[in-house]
Symmetry: C2
Subunit: 394 residues, 2 copies
Amino acid sequence: MSSPSLSSSTVRPSRALSSIRGSAIRDLLRVTERPDVLSMAGGLPATDLIPSDRIAEAASRVISEASALQYTVSAGVRPLREVVADRDGTHPERVLITHGSQQALFLSAQALLDPGDTVIVDDPVYVGALQVFQSVRAEIVALPITAEGTDVDRLERLLSDGVRPRIVHTVSNFHNPAGVTASARTRRRLAELAADHGFWIIEDDPYGQLRFAGRSMDPIPGDRVIRLGSASKILAPALRVGWLQASPDVVELVELLRQGADLCGSTFAQLMTADLLGDSDFMTAHVSDLRREYARRAAALTGALRTDLGAVCGVEFIEPEGGMFCWLRLPGLDTAILLDHAVRAGVAFVPGAAFAVDAGLGDRLRLSFATLSPDQLTEAVRRLATAVHDLGRG
Amino acid sequence: MSSPSLSSSTVRPSRALSSIRGSAIRDLLRVTERPDVLSMAGGLPATDLIPSDRIAEAASRVISEASALQYTVSAGVRPLREVVADRDGTHPERVLITHGSQQALFLSAQALLDPGDTVIVDDPVYVGALQVFQSVRAEIVALPITAEGTDVDRLERLLSDGVRPRIVHTVSNFHNPAGVTASARTRRRLAELAADHGFWIIEDDPYGQLRFAGRSMDPIPGDRVIRLGSASKILAPALRVGWLQASPDVVELVELLRQGADLCGSTFAQLMTADLLGDSDFMTAHVSDLRREYARRAAALTGALRTDLGAVCGVEFIEPEGGMFCWLRLPGLDTAILLDHAVRAGVAFVPGAAFAVDAGLGDRLRLSFATLSPDQLTEAVRRLATAVHDLGRG
């Protein structure tokens, strides 16, 4: 994946574009795509777990009708809005289908934010959210994330001090990159504060279905929530199907904005997704397979981290209960420097600094356990331990 | 298609969103979707001419690989960038694949425009472009379009008067809605003025392949052009594949912005499109079929306009040489009022005012000849003549 360098350009970019920090992760992925490198750096779900036969079946069923190849409405095809509403116990009028949940985030920000409006994010942050809020030139305030998700106590103090956010954004389940899940108290408190102070909560939830341990959490309650979901992590990224759930008022605003942004989504991709998500027997079995396999991979990773990496340095992490990522602390190490040694040793990760807003996070790193097999993960951690050992010898 | 009403909303929209005029066309389409109405109002290509068998074949070929279901890079899959570059005699690095050409327009505007920057559009305007430029809160200057496309003489006077546009936008072939094609002189002059004054030309060209009479025009020359193309009108809208051709600098800026907007397009839809566009025997035959059938429909429409409509009122139009639209003037009539009578008579069109920026265009209307058969078009014009007759009797 290539990432442009603004500095080399002779074209004057807009202020909106100049405000965006390029994704260091994308630059990094290019370096680590060498076949001899075991990469835990990516943010992709496992290609080998994509149900390609069932998706091909959906495609052949749907594309036989020429009407599936025509334009559709900006809000998305009705059958998919109904399936999503049904799964989540809401009404189709509260659901808008987007081109991946990233577009839902982008359009929500475009619809609700003016330059200078305050947005509160977690630190570390989902970089795709940071880019969106930067692109509308929002004032970004980052709160160091806690083991219970967004730091609602600190948020409350900010509000008492007169800070007036327009949006609070969090990845509520299996945070990317921090791995944590917002507790019941965090969710309740966020809803109360949003009601009292009139801000919007964007509950970004691409990973919620991928829980393999612990207890499922109810979504953030209340009517100040814009909830984002996605088919990318449970079916396939290339469907480019995400959705936004919100009050019909918000749905209407985003719909108007979408007309200008790209008119509408793909009729056939949306009908395929409705066919897949609406097949509850298939989905139950498939998501259960995903959870089982991600649990196996996570266990292989954390087992190796404790034994192999723990043998050469201090290692701190929270045991993943779902999602795709493990967020590590290696006290006393600079993970940006470690990365050079790691790539030489044949392993890659994303240094914590790539996700930092204000906090340094120089001793953190994100590991994905989604795309490598248990054996590969064990070998990857062995190489990581070698890199740490190398770094220690300078 | 539904169009939201901002006034009923209790949510405060962003200034960007408040600046957008809702599409009157979408409101209208909802009214005219009654099965007893012969609608010439839509902007869709003919569903019956979509090559659905060949597209289904491409889908089954492509979706058999799980890698086609994974994320791809923001600039688009390499094979499609190559096919597009090859067709248009350019380099793949100058091509960026987008989610329909509307997204290319939106991202170009976001990348290059700051609030208050001047953008020059034709009057009547492609409404999707107007929405995009309004959403970045540009200062919009509209030049009444001429039979040779954008009014370059008037543009030159504006430039002499010190107006400094950042972008000049036009639909260069078979303008939507005005039907006209930019002449060689217009194209050359636009390029010269852009070079002299440092603005960008967005050459929006979704219809260029659909020429069924007259002589093909070369694209607007020079290195200040961002050229937009689309698979929607020659293959199928639901592929949601468009593209932008520009200098690598511009491509890089748009690519960075796209990461935040929606990460990337659909791998399989892009690979399907590469398979289709790359099959030059199929494309040659298919586009030739499209041209022949659109020519037949256009001839049926204009024949009926001359005889049936010409019998009840004055009718002025330029004979279409391609594309999907015929732009009519009915001197002395108010087409917004005529529409009520027309829908009662069982026919629909879009009144000129829906496309007007500054000009009134109250005696104009846009007719699409793309989606009705020749017999239906003849009957539609008969009904339109009835409506004109009704209106005359008050």
